[in-house]
Amino acid sequence: MTVSTDTPTTASVSTPATRLRSLGWIARRVGGGVFVLWAVATIIFFALRLIPGDPVDAILGGPGSQASAEAVAQIRADYGLDQPLIVQYFLAMGKLAVADFGTSYALKVAVAPYVLTQLWSTLVLTIASLVVAWLGALALTLATSGRSRVARALGSALELLAAAVPHFWLASLLIILLSNTLHWLPPISVPGPLGLVLPVLTLALPLTGFLGQVMRESLANAYEQPFVLSARARGESEWGVRLRHVLRHAALPGISLSGWAFGSLLSGAVVVETIFARPGLGRTLLSAVTIRDIPVVTAVALLSALTFIIVTIATDVVDRIVDPRVTEVAAR
């Protein structure tokens, strides 16, 4: 309850107090992010120790290695694996705190630069997919909503099917169709934009289905709001109503979901990178987990968590820009 006469109930004017509040909000988010990173590192550390087998085998290139007992002991000492688990944990956390990710067991290279190049490749893929999915969902909902029943039905059926398609199957279909039959595109990822087309399509299509479903529903909701009637009564055209009013409302849940979508794209990237033999975090992760390359798995987990945190904060910021009500409600 607020005491109000004929004065504004909330002022959006930027006062020192509101700026301070924004700073506090950002500080809380960053603090939360650091906590999540620590928790992820801890979980990964202990989970990887639970994997049956000896990490030394991974360092020596698999269980079949013929290393002598002395060599094994030497490696154990070199990597600090002879220490009690709790000591290993604190040593590992200490190193991670200063962004020292160590050396890959299998590849014998520094993890940080190696994983960063993989991250870049995955980021290109996921961001391109997110953009394509967004555009696709926007185009599909705008083109089919408010139209005839047939158009709407067709639109929602397409979205429904797209959302139910597994990435790996879609990839196979696209390869059969676009590479093997039509020979338009290379079946595996080659460097350059052409090689990006199939992986991006594979990742983006199911996401288009999801975003489309959500946006179609909020679009339908927005159409029933009185402000649409107001706008029509002003003489606004159908497209004017759609672009100037309804679209923003429809986009809101899509924006809030983008953080989640990004997370699911990272998962999908594992499959897509495997199929198209494309370098990236996903494929690195898959092989690193299989051969127990602990430093690499840790680095990948932390990097994806970090990316996820950044994207979530970014979508919240965009959300607040598009819908100032969020800020007011959240603060209340």
Partner: protein, 293 residues
């Protein structure tokens, strides 16, 4: 991915669009088609002999790589096994994994959600942090590490999928509980003099948890897709058994010569997942209509 579809559940007592008129006929005929598909798949899972007479594991090298025909609706694979029969027999595995994984995810989410939605401030804080951390780990990473620890197999991949869907469900359950907890009718019950325990038991829990069934229905389809992805990566059901993901995985090797090995098991997955989604959304719309016109 259920969260996207089910995110609307958490919206408090809004009006459900699309119930009156809007695309009604599609929704209805869509639901009918979905129910028919699900009935077919359920039959395939429970009594595959009713739909096919062949043996899914009968090897006939002479008949390898036959394209779809009257004898073999979906063609044959590299060992001459009938793909149609294998798809039918795969339904049981895939369905079981999907349902079990959803149950695991919902069960875990229920614990976290109840802690966050009804517990003390501390309980809420703890559960929210756990969910946040689970969200920050890509689902597949969680699943991969879990499978590395427990070894590949049906049970492992089921639990792994459940584990990766849990945070989404937990968030929905928590917000559902919170919104019901602050509903006017809960306050009205307090004013009447009902005890806290009775209010929680009679009003909050039923009101907040009734959508779980809907959530589960929406989730099974996605869980099947997830589990098949694990099967495809070679981390699920061991190859000779008929499971859609595993079939796709082995079919990929022959993608150049036998497209049917890839197309039909995939279609089965898409049809199942889409049908569960349609059914879940229809249930959702009905529940909401009953709750609030």
């Amino acid at each position: 991915m259920t969260e996207i579809l089910a995110g609307r559940l958490s919206r408090p007592a809004g009006r459900a669009p699309g119930i009156r008129g809007r695309g009604g006929w599609l929704r209805n005929s869509g639901v009918i088609i979905a129910l028919a598909v699900l009935a077919l798949i359920l039959t395939a899972a429970l009594a595959p002999q009713l739909i096919t007479t062949a043996d899914p594991d009968a090897v006939a090298p002479a008949e390898a790589f036959q394209s779809p025909s009257a004898a073999h609706f979906f063609g044959t694979d590299e060992s001459g096994r009938d793909v149609y029969t294998r798809v039918v027999f795969g339904a049981g595995n895939s369905l079981l994994i999907g349902i079990a994984a959803t149950a695991v995810g919902l069960g875990l989410a229920l614990i976290l959600g109840l802690l966050g939605g009804l517990g003390s401030r501390l309980g809420d804080f703890v559960s929210t942090r756990i969910v946040e951390v689970m969200f920050a780990l890509p689902g597949l990473l969680l699943a991969l590490v879990f499978i590395a620890i427990a070894g590949p197999g049906v049970v492992t991949s089921t639990v792994a999928v459940g584990l990766s869907t849990a945070p989404g469900y937990a968030r929905i359950i928590r917000s559902q509980l919170r919104s019901v907890r602050s509903a006017s009718y809960v306050e009205a019950a307090t004013v009447l003099g009902h005890s806290r325990a009775r209010i929680v038991w009679q009003h909050i829990l039923p009101g907040a948890l009734s959508p779980i069934f809907v959530l589960g229905t929406l989730g099974v389809g996605q869980a099947i897709v997830w589990a098949s992805s694990l099967g495809f990566l070679g981390l699920g059901v061991a190859p000779p058994a008929a499971e859609w993901g595993a079939m796709l995985s082995s079919g990929r090797t022959y993608i150049d010569v036998a497209w049917w090995l890839t197309v039909f098991p995939g279609l089965a997955i898409v049809a199942t997942a889409a049908s569960f989604t349609v059914l879940g959304r229809a249930l959702n719309a009905r529940t909401r209509q009953e709750a609030r016109g």
